[in-house]
Structures are given as C-alpha cells and as structure tokens.
C-alpha cells in the first residue's frame, strides 16, 4: 500500500514488521523500528503505476512468527543461506551499482542450498531524470548503506511454505539462434551464435536487434531474463550477468506490455501475493505509468531477485499451506 510519511511512522511506532520502498528523502525521516527499506520513487499501486516522492510503499508483514534483520557486504552476502530460518522467507534489498549486487548476481546460481531457502528481493535505485541517493536501510539500528545488502529473515509457522515465483512477459522463439557466453560476466565482447564465435556488439548491430528485448534463458520452462544495459566501444553491458553453459536467445518482440502482463498474470494464477516488485525497464518500455496490474502492487525496481538476480521481470511471493 502506498501511504504517507505520517501513516508509515505510525505503523513503525506500533511495532509492526514492515518492508518499505520510497525516495530517500522520506526513508531518512523514519524512526527506528522493525523494518527494512530501499530507495525508489517508482511504484505500481492499486491505482496504477506512479512516480512519487511524497508517499511510501509499505508491506505489512503479518504472516511471520519471528523476524531478524542483518546487513551484509560483498564478502559475506552468502551467509544468508546459513543465517536464514529453516522454514522461512529471506527478503533482501541491495543498492544499484554496488559491489554486493555484482557479487550476488554472479555467484548466487552456484551457491549450495540457495534454492532450498525461498529468497526474494530487489535492487534499490533513484529518480532516473534527477538522480538521488541510492540506499538501503536497516530500520532496526537506523543505519543506511550504499555498499551493503539489508536482509530481513522471516520465520514461517509450521505448515506454511513461502513460494517465490515470477511473471515474465517475455519468451523465446525456439527457431532463433542459440547464443552462448564464455563466462559469468556483466559484459561481453564475444559470444557464440549457433556454435560460431562472433563479436556480440557487431551481431546485434548487423541483425538490427531491439536491445529493449532481453536475452532469455529457459530454466526448465521458467524463463529468466538478462537485460541489455547498452553497447559501448564494442562491448555489450548487461544489468544481470550472463552465465557460461546457459543457452540464451533474444526475446520475441512484445507489442503491448500491459496486455502481455495481464495474460501472464492470469496464467501465473497468483491469488494472494504478500510481496511483489517489477522492473524499471518494464515500467519505462511498457509505459506502465497509470496502468494497473492486479493483484500485484509494489516497488518498481532496478533489478529483481528470485533466488538469483534477474531483469525485466515481476517477482512475487505467496505463502502456501
């Protein structure tokens, strides 16, 4: 729910367990309490997509038995696998451009047992036109960070499980060429296309590929996106890493984002998501300002975490059982 600063302060003072997304000018005014937060001024509210620095998006967490909050840097971020509750949900927020994001993005898929612990989160950002502080907050001690991830561990009651899932409007065309990369990298100059080594930037230019469409990889039927950040000096940059030994294709063109989202949301069948976030690239390319995506509301983010870092995707969590 998108609420005022005063309403948020009241919830914190009542001792409620909260996840908060807002512009830094608001987050920095919040009192200490049981909350974590990250910066973004973009949201999908019940009334539709909105840019605002006057309100905060707050998820009240009433489904957890216990909670604990911690912050991690690039050297210890994967302690989340050891420090989480045995049956729980891990929510993390990382600042855009930080080393901890890069570390998490590159290494999460290989971390032992990560898939055994439902993990959801997002990358904090700022106003794309006017800039602003990019931070994450540990509300418990009042600390904010530009170089650490904040994590809230939630313990779920016996008989309940968290299910992290995604809504992806992109899919591939299996007749398109298969693209592979040599390493787990956030940028690439070379790749193979159907087994033949090519310069990736030249390939994109030659084939006139619309780089608003992400690379998609088929993980046993779940499509995971990697978005193109840009092409500079013959190097293609990504918002999330590409991985060696993963087959990619460029996503098939999407004409109408809202219509595609509505179809994909209906197919996902989520009834009562307790948390969701959606990518800034979907917001921008799909012109989601003013558009509703029920039942999903939440922050618009600069990277999404559904176990691993992904792009151009709506991620959500439901509590089952």
């Amino acid at each position: 729910m998108l609420i005022t600063l005063e309403e948020t302060v009241e919830l914190i003072r009542k001792g409620r367990l909260l996840h908060i997304a807002a512009d830094d000018t608001l987050l920095r005014q919040l009192p200490k309490g049981k909350w974590i937060g990250g910066t973004t001024p973009y949201f999908i509210s019940e009334e539709g997509g909105i840019f605002t620095k006057d309100r905060l998006f707050v998820n009240e967490i009433d489904y957890a038995e216990e909670a604990k909050i911690a912050a991690y840097g690039k050297y210890n971020i994967f302690q989340i696998v050891e420090e989480c509750y045995d049956n729980g949900l891990t929510m993390l927020i990382m600042p855009f451009g930080s080393e901890v994001v890069a570390k998490y993005a590159k290494e999460a898929p290989e971390v032992e047992e990560l898939l055994l612990h439902p993990t959801i989160g997002w990358v904090a950002g700022a106003d794309l036109e006017n800039g602003g502080e990019i931070k994450v907050y540990n509300g418990e001690n009042g600390e904010s960070y530009t170089d650490k991830a904040v994590v809230m561990y939630l313990k779920l009651p016996e008989g309940k499980n968290a299910m992290v899932n995604l809504v992806n409007i992109f899919t591939d065309d299996k007749t398109d060429p298969i693209i592979r990369f040599n390493d787990n990298e956030l940028s690439a100059t070379k790749c193979t296309v159907n087994g033949q080594e090519v310069n990736f930037a030249e390939y994109i230019e030659k084939k006139r590929i619309d780089v608003k469409m992400p690379l998609v990889a088929d993980y046993n039927g779940s499509y995971i996106n990697t978005s193109i950040k840009g092409v500079e000096n013959g190097t293609v940059g990504f918002y999330a890493p590409v991985f060696r030994n993963v087959e990619y294709r460029f996503a098939a063109h999407v004409e109408d984002y809202v219509e595609n989202f509505q179809k994909s949301i209906a197919a996902a069948g989520a009834k009562n998501p307790v948390f969701s976030c959606n990518c800034i690239l979907n917001y921008l390319y799909g012109d989601l300002n003013g558009k509703k995506l029920p039942p999903f509301t939440g922050p618009i983010t600069f990277g999404e975490v559904a176990y691993q870092l992904i792009n151009q995707t709506l991620v959500y969590c439901e509590i089952l059982g």
């Binding site: 898929p109 499980n161 995604l166 039927g221 779940s222």
Partner: protein, 72 residues
C-alpha cells in the same frame, strides 16, 4: 518419493522426460541438476540427494509436483 516418481525424476534429469513445475525453485533446481549431470554423468546420486533435500524441505509445495511427475 515413491518408485514411479523416483524413476521419472531420474529421467527428467537425464533429459528423457520433460516436466515443468509451477514452482520456480524446482524448475531452477532441475535445470541446475541437468547441467551437472551433463558435465558429469556419474553424478546422478548426488543430484538425487539434492532433489530429495528440496522435496523433504517443502512438502506442501512439492506434493503436487511429485504426483504429477509420478503420472508422467
């Protein structure tokens, strides 16, 4: 895991059967185990241990998948 499900999980990991879950984590795990098995065909036992650990940890989530897999 019953015998029918066990055998079919092995076939899924070997790429002989296709099963897509509505559970993202299970799809990611299957994909990861398929790659591990491709790289090392002798690793079926350790792959199955990881699958078992997942299923044991999330019985509510895995129940429907196991029934679907057994019926493939």
């Amino acid at each position: 895991m019953d015998a029918a499900a066990l055998e079919n999980v092995k076939r899924i990991l070997r790429g002989e059967l296709r099963y897509t879950s509505s559970n993202l984590a299970l799809n990611m795990l299957i994909s990861k185990m398929q790659k591990k098995l491709q790289a090392d065909p002798q690793s079926m036992e350790s792959c199955m241990k990881e699958m078992d650990a997942f299923i044991a940890k999330y019985p509510i989530v895995a129940k429907v998948d196991l029934a679907n897999i057994a019926a493939l």
